[in-house]
Amino acid sequence: MMEKLVSKMSPKWRDTTVALVFLSPFLAVYAVFLVYPIFYSMYLSFRTVSVDTDMFNIFSDMRFTGLKNYIELAKDYHFWWSLTVTFYYAILYIPLLIFSSLVLAVLLNNHLKGHSFFRSAYFMPNVLDMFVVGTIWMFLYAPQGGVISQIMNALGIDFFSREGILGSPRTAMLGVVVALVLKNSGFGMILFLAAIQNISRSVYEAADIDGASNWQKFTKITIPLVRPIILFMVVTGMIGALNSFTEIYAMTSGKPNVVVFGKTMEATRVAGYYLFRQWDRMNYGYAAAMSYALLFITLAVSYVNAKILKSSH
């Protein structure tokens, strides 16, 4: 019966029927867990959990409060601070990541024996669990008994064992970022390596004939040709900063405290972590409003980046 019906259709309608059937499991999950949440989140952002809420039915029992969440968000200096911290994270992370990825790629590009071993070794930490890697780093950084502070002590530098890298507001974010850079550099390295190998040998040979030094070849030929990759890493780095959570949860929990303009803030509490804290306190409406704010920031960042990418081509 079904077969007959299908065989009578025009080819395009037949393909559409088949496509719908084949796509249905994917589209079902997509609709319920990716499309619906975008609208549902908007709905929740206009509501607030009331004090006397029905604990077994919190989401249906939220009260309509209009734009209250958004107005509060605009006035919440902790929110603005978390955006500042996110920006600081990106400013530290992106240049360091690009630099170390590029250095590894240039080193590997010499095709020495064992080059594929080093390539795998550098890439491997990329696939490992962020939370677990963060926990290991917390141990390495520990002010009492951590390897790094012990080695530094032996060298006569006691800064690391006094407050610890993650315990001082001045170095906590840097500590997180260094751990991340060492985990993620292998990824950028692969991208740079592919781009460098695409540069034709004759370009370098021509430069040799003109008597260019290695440094000149690097800055005048290599860097301009890997520019698209640098831009890509800036874009993904910024979006990564806006999405960052696990590394902060693992290593600092947003701490340590720092006083800014007379207000006590947390030095590594990035936007993602602040959003999580709001969820944790059952401020669901507020958290939904905040995720909308973050969405617009992310889209703005992507838009600006797309413009820059276009103009550079």
Binding site: F33, F123, M124, V127, D129, L191, F232
Partner: protein, 280 residues
């Protein structure tokens, strides 16, 4: 070759090897230290020695069977979550990728474009609404709650479509002439021919679900019997802040299996993870 031309060449090589080795030490040291400390007795945890008198498996055994933090159980949970997540993602994406690659249906490009557009939305955006949906479905503390919301992997469909477009349509046509139905074509022809990309999507999703920390944290309460390795470690860390030997042993259960899979299948991981970037 004279000594004159040889020496700078040798010096350059030596320098490069030293630099590569220093890089590898920096990148791999945390994992080396993790394994070393996990094998040490408690009183040696903070000692700066790099050599073990006699390696102990005690920490591993203790933590695997710990009554309040059973890492053996957490390991099984992680395995179930990651394997089912990988399997269903690969299944859904291969079904979807196939029709995008080989069928000519209404609104095909528009639908594909909308799917790709959702990739722009940051994951944080979904935290609250997905949590609300999972709560309403009664999926808190279940495998379904951890796995199902993350099965619609758009990047997976993208990879599948790209790969399956290279399968010649003539093979499909001749199978049709031989009387094969849509299902048969998919299962007997497309799936065997696409095993490379299916394996890649499976491995990438396995990895994603193995490390999907924030989501596992959100859909499990601390009493849950479905806790995965990183969540178990987070709870353990909250309770025993300085029992580093046990924590490093627990970390090994998460790190070592993935490192081994990586060593065996690194081509899939490196190509798969970087393929989104190289396109453009």
């Amino acid at each position: 070759m004279t000594l004159m031309t040889r020496t700078p060449e040798l010096a350059k090589k030596t320098f490069l090897y030293v630099a590569l080795a220093v890089g590898a030490v920096f990148v791999l040291f945390p994992f080396f230290w993790m394994i070393l400390v996990a094998l040490k007795p408690d009183e040696q945890v903070f000692a700066l020695n790099f050599i073990l008198q006699k390696p102990l498996l005690k920490n591993f055994v203790d933590i695997w069977t710990n009554p309040s933090y059973p890492f053996g159980r957490f390991f099984v949970n992680s395995l179930v979550v990651a394997t089912s997540g990988g399997f269903f993602t690969a299944l859904f994406c291969s079904l979807g990728g196939y029709v995008f690659a080989k069928k000519d249906f209404y609104f095909k490009e528009q639908i594909f474009w909308i799917l790709l557009a959702t990739m722009m939305i940051p994951g944080m955006m979904f935290l609250v609404p997905q949590f609300a949906i999972v709560t309403k479905l009664g999926w808190i503390n279940t495998y379904s709650g951890m796995v199902v919301p993350h099965l619609a992997n758009v990047f997976g469909i993208f990879l599948m479509r790209q790969y399956m477009e290279t399968i010649p349509t003539s093979i499909i046509e001749s199978a049709k002439i031989d009387g094969a139905g849509e299902w048969q074509i998919f299962w007997r022809l497309i799936v065997p021919l696409s095993m490379t990309i299916i394996t890649m999507v499976f491995l990438l999703s396995f990895l994603f679900h193995w490390s999907n920390f924030l989501w596992h944290l959100v859909v499990n309460t601390p009493e849950s019997d479905k806790l995965t390795l990183p969540i178990g470690l987070a709870l353990f860390k909250g309770q025993y802040t300085s029992d580093w030997a046990k924590m490093m042993a627990a970390s090994c259960f998460s790190i070592i299996p993935i490192a081994l899979i990586f060593v065996v299948a690194q081509k899939f991981f490196i190509e798969g993870l970087t393929s989104g970037a190289v396109k453009e």
